[in-house]
Amino acid sequence: MLTNAHLKYESQKLGMNYFRVAIVLFGAQLLLGLVAAIQFMYPGFLFEVLDFSVARMVHINALVVWMLYAMIGSVYYMIPDETGEEVVGAGLGKLAFWVLTAAVTVVVLVYIFIQIGSGTEATIWLINEGREYIEAPRWADIGIVVVVLIFYWNVFATFMKGKRTGIMTVMVADLFALAGLYLAGMFFTDNISMDQYWWWWVIHLWVEATWEVFVGALAAYGLIKILGAKREIVEMWLWIEVLMLFGSGILGLGHHYFWIGTPEYWWEIGALFSALEPVPLVAMFVHVLYDWGKEQGHMEANAAEGEKAHAVNNTPAMAWIATNAFGNFLGAGIWGFFHTLPQVNIYTHGTQFTAAHGHLAFFGAYATILIGMMYLGVQGASGIKKMTMTFKTKMALFLIIFGLLGMTVALTIAGYEQVLVERADLGGGWDAYFTAQNLPWMVQAMGWRLAMGVVTFLGFVYLLWDLLTIGKAQAKEA
């Protein structure tokens, strides 16, 4: 992971830089998640030193930022492959990378050491904005916009100069929407309903529309690169996926407008369109399996005597991409569908159920494929023809998936109990909340969440170790 030895393009070297920061931030995310999980069980832990709110803020911010880093890294990595060109502004891109990384470091240090400010505009500008996932203070918002503009210019100009593949066309259009949406989260209003209305434009239209399409494009690139799938077919499907994802996801936004002060018509709109959201996820799942089967079949038919046929030239990346196809469906599709109808959501809204879905969906839909992209990067950087799984790869896959599933099951049980006791039976409120929190089901579920979080973290250690060593080890063998 630390070498660029075999990369010809500056664009890909830059991509590797983004991957390196991403993996570090992933580790930080998990550590702070563990702190928050401990506080659920032992509320005295770091009380008034590093409170739950601080731990959680760093946890989810590191999450969003490492994913954006890995996404930018993936795009820089695929640009030369797709367009056949070196990125136009490599120097500027590098500068932007360092500026962004310095800014992220400052923001995190301020989160951890300054934490909160007084109730003035200065706090919003300098310390944090206090809005879940997009807490970054305004100065950093502006910095992010500038850096993203540079990135976007690089992608766009290279695209215009080189080959214009379907995958890159989707990418260029999608990144435009993705970056533009960030602006919806940058203003202040006294009206909390208005605040939440626009906040969801960023969060929902990211994770359930633009990021999903991004993943569709990445998977398409991955299938061609790893399996040698046929470009025309992959691209045709990519467009169908775009159609289905945007067709359901954009108006699916309504499932967040049931109870925030917005009118009742969102019940119907949100229910209808968000219930359709799992459909493209099923299609993506079937598609990945279909291509895998197909290409494996071709290879076996064409293989020379005695040679063991294998279509996949990077099994770790392929394993993570297959996990993505299934995890996306499971976390976003199934766990999302659970609570997306308003009749059910009025009870589950804002319970541990939401947390269960949030974890499995973010992991299944995004963490997996981005890890896959990192393996692709390592393969290219170390000049390995055929990369295969090591013991560490398998341990990482197993422990991380097992840990995440375990956490999700624990949180689902906790959410179920919370829905029954706090919401359906007691009707919510301070007393009802703590009655539900203190029942054994909840307490034990929180224990299991912590235990499974530790398992996840062990998996991360294996992942990091593998990424650092697999390149060198297999380059030597070859």
Binding site: I224, E232, I233, V282, V286, Y290, G293, Y347
Partner: protein, 112 residues
């Protein structure tokens, strides 16, 4: 204006059923799509096609059951059933598309 969705009170002991049945809807839905695709691709024998329809019937029933459990109004109920009917054709349409695309583009110039 009467809202089309009524917001019924759900008793605590009804939730487990609701969550279980909504899982069934999706799992059976994937099962149906996967069985149709895999058997048409030749990875499974053709005998699995009837089984896939059983999946679909069970899925339709689960969705019907879900709509009863969440006390949905007649309108919502009709929408759900129409959606179910549309889903019957989805994997077939899907497979037709892959196959046609395969035929059309396998002649195209070799990929990288």
């Amino acid at each position: 204006m009467e809202p089309i969705i009524s917001m019924p009170v759900i008793a605590p002991n009804e939730f487990l059923g609701i969550f279980a049945v909504s899982t069934m809807v999706l799992v059976l839905g994937v099962g149906y799509a996967a069985l149709v695709t895999l058997s048409k691709m030749g990875y499974l024998s053709r005998k699995w096609i009837p089984v896939s329809y059983i999946f679909w019937i069970l899925q339709a029933y689960s969705l019907y059951d879900l709509s009863v459990r969440i006390h949905s109004s007649p309108f919502t109920f009709k929408v759900l059933m129409i959606a179910m009917l549309a889903y019957l054709f989805a994997p077939h349409v899907y497979f037709y598309l892959v196959e046609q695309a395969e035929k059309r583009y396998s002649q195209a110039e070799e990929h990288r």
